[in-house]
């Protein structure tokens, strides 16, 4: 009964998984310290820092996040650019994914006319959209779109093609989860609302939306995770000029493996942080989930 919303199974992770404790000192301190010690020892034995840099050098990079690397900016500035791109693409995906998901889940004709297209486009890796996106948007940036031209701000680094690819990455998990959530709303709740006098639009706001909220939030969490995945990959491809993914590949070309690993750690850390943040929001918003009667 706890899974009445028809959660997709393994891939979603479900909201239920958040019950597992994340505060164990074993996982947070002991194991990482042991690994770092082994790493340091191995790196010093090997003594080939361009392949396998010691921990100390990687940490040296991490504690100086503002240090400029070649012409490509610092760890922090590139991270910030990546986050900005992801934020915009994700917001776009959230608005359209939730809107279309609710429409498809509650209006039969919308679903039947769009589902085939969705099913074909969904399995496509978002990165596959990049050549198309670059062809369409050229090197257009966000300020240019709104007629500001070159603004000498970080927004000049927000290329529309990148945002589009991130949008594609976040859009489908958000859409399909919302759709499943809305389509899985118990008929009883709709009947109950109607007997209590809810009109069509009220049923939409006061039943469909809250009832499918756990699934919508699951979709948002998955979507945000995927957006972060996609941006790193997109920034590593030729044509990119900034972003943490770009710095990673640029440092690799310059045999600066300490920067590569520092970038990797930042990407992983931010991904984990985003996931944690979404879970916190979710558990606060839908305390009732998994406990409905």
């Amino acid at each position: 009964m706890s899974r009445w919303l028809g959660c997709p199974t393994a891939d979603s992770g479900g909201l239920e998984c958040q019950a597992s404790k994340v505060g164990s000192p074993l996982g947070w301190i002991v194991v990482p310290v042991v690994l770092l010690v082994i790493w340091q020892a191995a790196a010093q034995l090997l003594n080939q820092p361009w392949i396998f840099p010691p921990v100390t050098r990687v940490i040296g990079q991490l504690v100086h996040p503002l240090r400029e690397h070649y012409a490509s900016g610092s760890l922090l500035s590139n991270t910030f650019i990546s986050l900005l791109r992801v934020l915009l693409g994700f917001l776009l995906a959230a608005v359209t994914g939730i809107g279309l998901g609710i429409a498809m889940g509650s209006i039969r004709i919308v679903r039947s006319s769009l589902e085939p297209i969705v099913e074909v486009l969904r399995p496509l890796c978002p990165i596959a959209w990049l050549p198309f996106a670059i062809a369409v948007f050229k090197r257009g940036t966000l300020p240019q779109l709104f007629g500001f031209g070159y603004t000498r701000t970080v927004f000049d680094q927000v290329q529309l093609g990148m945002v589009f690819v991130i949008f594609v990455g976040g859009f489908f998990p958000i859409l399909t989860n919302t759709l499943d959530g809305v389509a899985g709303v118990r008929r009883n709740y709709l009947l109950l609302a109607q007997t209590l006098g809810a009109k069509r639009r009220q049923v939409f706001w006061y039943v469909y939306l809250p009832a499918s909220m756990p699934m919508i939030l699951t979709g948002l969490r998955q979507g945000l995770g995927l957006c972060w995945f996609v941006i790193i990959a997109a920034e590593m491809l030729p044509g990119a000029e900034s972003g943490i993914g770009y710095l990673l590949i640029y440092a690799s070309d310059n045999a600066a493996m300490d920067i590569v690993i520092a970038s990797m750690l930042i990407v992983g850390g931010i991904g984990a942080l985003l996931g944690l943040m979404m879970r916190k929001i979710m558990s606060g918003l839908v305390r009732w989930h998994g406990k409905e009667i």
């Binding site: 118990r186 109950l192 609302a193 007997t195 209590l196 006098g197 409905e292 009667i293």
Partner: protein, 262 residues
């Protein structure tokens, strides 16, 4: 039983619901047709507490759905009292999924008021008053999953009564709670009914419950569902299960019900 009295009262008290030769046939997916209800005749007056008694699957729920308009009869006709309207003053309490799990008890109770555009402050105070009435004072901010089965049904009744219904339909609302809670809920419902004189149509498969609550018990026959007979219950309230009249009625109805099985 005492048909003379019923005729008399019908002249004075306006009717709430009338069914005339109502029948309902469902088409199954395989094309076979299943007759759920046949030739149901029923006249309910305002303020009556009618219990519909019968085995599970005898068409009682179908009958309720016809009354609320969730389903349409194939035969006969159904007439609601003049001022009765679905989505306005007809309330429905179900056995399961009676509350919205994402709303607190108070917010569930005030749902109907919210749909009617009642202001938040007034909604809240009326919800608190209603919850107090059903014995849930202090549980305003509890979510349904934090309430016991009996408390949930109390809240569901408060939710239904908050819209000040003229007709209250109840579909085995106490079917999922334990015996002692069930007795408490029956007492509470009787009190509320005596206070408000809302017309209640209450579906149950429990003979004891049908007699304790109803001013009339309608016994349903199965397949197709049809009213087999009717018992008028004149016992004073609160009703004593140990009373000899009560036990006599119980045995009579039980005989009637088991007679159908042969």
């Amino acid at each position: 039983m005492t048909s003379g009295e019923i005729n008399n009262s019908s002249k004075e008290i306006p009717m709430a619901l009338e069914l005339h030769k109502v029948g309902k046939t469902f088409q199954s997916d395989t094309g076979a047709s299943v007759k759920a209800l046949e030739d149901v005749n029923l006249l309910v007056h305002q303020g009556e507490f009618v219990t519909l008694l019968g085995a599970t699957g005898c068409g009682k729920t179908t009958l309720l759905n016809l009354i609320t308009g969730l389903d349409v009869a194939n035969e006969g006709h159904l007439r609601l009292g003049e001022d009765l309207r679905f989505g306005d003053n007809i309330a429905h309490v179900f056995q399961h999924y009676t509350l919205f799990p994402w709303r607190t008890a108070a917010s569930n109770v005030s749902f109907g008021l919210q749909m009617r555009g009642v202001r938040r402050a007034e909604r809240q105070s009326r919800a608190v008053a209603m919850l107090t009435k059903v014995g849930l004072r202090g549980f305003e901010n509890a979510y349904p999953h934090e309430l016991s089965g009996g408390m949930r049904q109390r809240a569901a009744i408060a939710q239904a009564l908050a819209i000040e219904p003229k007709l209250l339909l109840m579909d085995e609302p106490f079917g999922a709670v334990d015996d002692s809670t069930r007795t408490e809920l029956q007492q509470m419902l009787t009190d509320l009914w005596q206070e408000n004189q809302t017309t209640i149509i209450f579906v149950t498969h429990n003979i004891d419950e049908a007699i304790v609550l109803g001013s009339r018990v309608l016994v349903f026959r199965e397949r197709p569902g049809k009213i087999a007979c009717e018992f008028k219950i004149d016992l004073p309230r609160p009703r004593d299960r140990m009373n000899s009249e009560f036990t006599k009625l119980f045995i009579q109805i039980r005989t009637k019900l088991s007679g159908q099985l042969d």
